[in-house]
Symmetry: C2
Subunit: 392 residues, 2 copies
């Protein structure tokens, strides 16, 4: 007789509720303090995560449930940003975004490999370091632009477009890096197939989906299960995020595309008002989780601080050197905004580092340095972006 | 050197996103179909869970993340119901609710013990069966009343008040049942302490919290981190739910009390509009999860179906016999509404059964029968409630 797995003891779920309450309360307290001292709130949320996490008080540990809440945080963040964006506006910046995306992956990737060789690492480790430096966290930059109210301006759209291209290129790099470390070497045919699937998904959803909803805006309004298009839109968001994740893209690419699609029905429904509470509830978990994953103790020991400084310097310089010229057509100030917007590595750098430690090509010190770099670039960019987009 | 636990491989979170998308889409499809055939939507959501769960297609398994989403589902459900309720209205039905709560626990508890002995089980098993039959799932009844728009009427308030009393009594019963099964026997002093803590928490939060917010309604409005009182209210909800869970009460009691408190500021803020999207997003996971936990395969085998019929008959009859007279002061029709509203065992019955199998006093057949009874009573009550509260 087969039985469904019984509920975990009731107390486990009760403990998870405590974690969720602590993380949300701490994140909003950090947000509050940083807003009051005139700094970006998300920096306060990340630092709140550092404080409640293993680095300082150890009230919460990074675990599966918190990770899912963090993931939904960035999913609803990019869904919201997609809702604020029009495909036609994305097309206007398409060419510059393409340049920024390609340059912003290749230069940091090469610089990371160079750094890896310089510190005496083998080729697989150097390639993984390159992949970690090539990653861009669109979530951090998008949240900063959204809080500054400039998400529809050219720099924000350029960074978002570049992030989509980035993510497809990063998919290749990670596949190559993990393939090189695997026993059987890497499978070129499988890689080509994966790429075709990823590009096909983005193109089909972005073009076909927006066109469909533009012609039949009542689609989201048809079901009787809610008086509003909220749940159909949320289901679309989760489904596209899940599909993107399954084909090897970041889930947030799917969520962003879902937002673009739903945005086409905006004249008919005040959908933003209804998504706003989900956008308020989930993203704090994303920002706090970045801080929770950092272990300051691992960084201060040994030579890791020096390694962190080197990795961070290469990470910042390579993105700026690559993206500033690539964004030049937008004009000097906006080009700098784009380049700085590409600097945060956020959760993407941490994910790549985690893959590295799982497949055994990263040691503990380099892992800690990459996570530290991801957090440092994430904390540094928002204040600079705020200054660059402010009154000149 | 200690390192933070690294992120699980990216694909695990990607798989959880698939689960969430499948469960939410299936639940809303079930809701849609049932609404179209004129039946309560939540019944469709539970059956959708049966279909995607291990019983039929096995697309999703009950796991930690889904369980937390289910828990947040019932937490936001009771928070919403609390928001719709005033403490002063609860007081009006206080005496009847007390009678219904006490009778609705004691009679089914005794009937469960009797049934246990009748089928030849030892005393610990009989007591646990009694505890499972005594439990009431306020979530199911509250959701049904909410969807019928009668949550502020006397029967709904009576069932909610009775559920709070029920839960405190159930805490004693489960403590006694698990204490009897434990090695050292049970600790009367610890039990008294637990009870005092539980009653003190409910009284202090319900009376002190509502009074505080009534006098200083701007408290929820003060933080700068959101333009609205949504997040302060949600943090209060999660915190009180977490505390209730930690002291041995159901988390939903804390969430309901948080709703009662926030309701005192309602004139100032349209807080319901902002909680509504969270109330739309999470509860479908709660209903679907009840179906996912059921394993029909375990029920059709052997003599379990007969056992299920016996347990269900005793479960329904004992609640009706106890609660119908206890609610008599409300008048015939409303007394029946209250009695039927106390019938669903929902997630509470499943939790008790899970504790039973964990501590080893339930075998697989009785576990399957109790879970089946919980689902059967949960599915049967909403259509009857709908008829009882409809035009006479």
């Amino acid at each position: 007789m087969t039985l469904a797995v019984p509920l975990a003891a009731a107390t486990e779920t009760a403990d998870v509720l405590v974690d969720l309450a602590v993380v949300l309360a701490a994140a909003k307290l950090g947000d509050e303090i940083f807003k009051r001292i005139g700094q970006p709130g998300l920096v306060g949320e990340i630092l709140a995560g550092v404080i409640v996490g293993p680095s300082v008080f150890g009230l919460v540990e990074p675990g599966e449930v918190l990770e899912v809440f963090a993931e939904l945080g960035v999913v609803f963040l990019l869904f919201w940003v997609g809702l604020e964006t029009r495909l036609s506006e994305m097309r206007e910046v398409g060419r510059v975004a393409g340049q920024v995306g390609v340059a912003g992956v290749l230069v940091p990737f090469a610089a990371g490999i160079g750094l890896g060789f310089a510190i005496g690492e083998p080729i697989e480790t150097a390639i993984l370091l390159g992949a970690a430096l090539a990653a861009t966290s669109a979530g951090i930059t998008a949240a900063t632009f959204a809080s500054l109210g400039v998400v529809r301006e050219a720099p924000a759209r350029t960074v978002l477009g570049a992030a989509v291209i980035d993510d497809i290129l990063a998919l290749i790099l990670v596949a190559v890096a993990t393939g090189l470390a695997a026993e059987g070497g890497f499978d070129a045919l499988a890689l080509v197939f994966t790429m075709a699937l990823a590009i096909g998904f983005v193109a089909f959803v972005a073009l076909g989906g927006t066109e469909l909803v533009k012609r039949r805006p009542q689609l989201l309004h048809a079901p009787r299960f809610s008086e509003s298009p909220l749940l159909p839109a949320v289901i679309l968001c989760l489904a596209l995020a899940a599909i993107a994740g399954q084909i090897g893209l970041a889930a947030i690419i799917g969520a962003f595309l879902a937002g673009l699609i739903v945005a086409e029905t905006k004249e008919q429904h005040p959908i933003e008002d209804e998504v706003a509470p989900l956008y308020a509830f989930f993203p704090p978990f994303f920002f706090a989780f970045i801080g929770i994953e950092l272990d300051l103790g691992a960084l201060v020991e040994g030579g890791t601080l020096l390694l962190l400084a080197a990795v961070t310097a290469v990470a910042v310089a390579s993105k700026l050197i690559a993206c500033r010229p690539a964004a030049a057509p937008l004009g000097r100030r906006q080009a700098w905004t784009v380049a700085v917007g590409m600097v945060p590595r956020g959760e993407v750098g941490i994910v790549v580092a985690s893959i590295g430690i799982t497949i055994g090509v990263l040691d503990d010190e380099l892992f800690a340095a990459i996570v530290g770099m991801a957090v440092a670039t994430t904390l540094a960019a928002p204040p600079v972006l705020r200054r660059l987009t402010g009154p000149s």
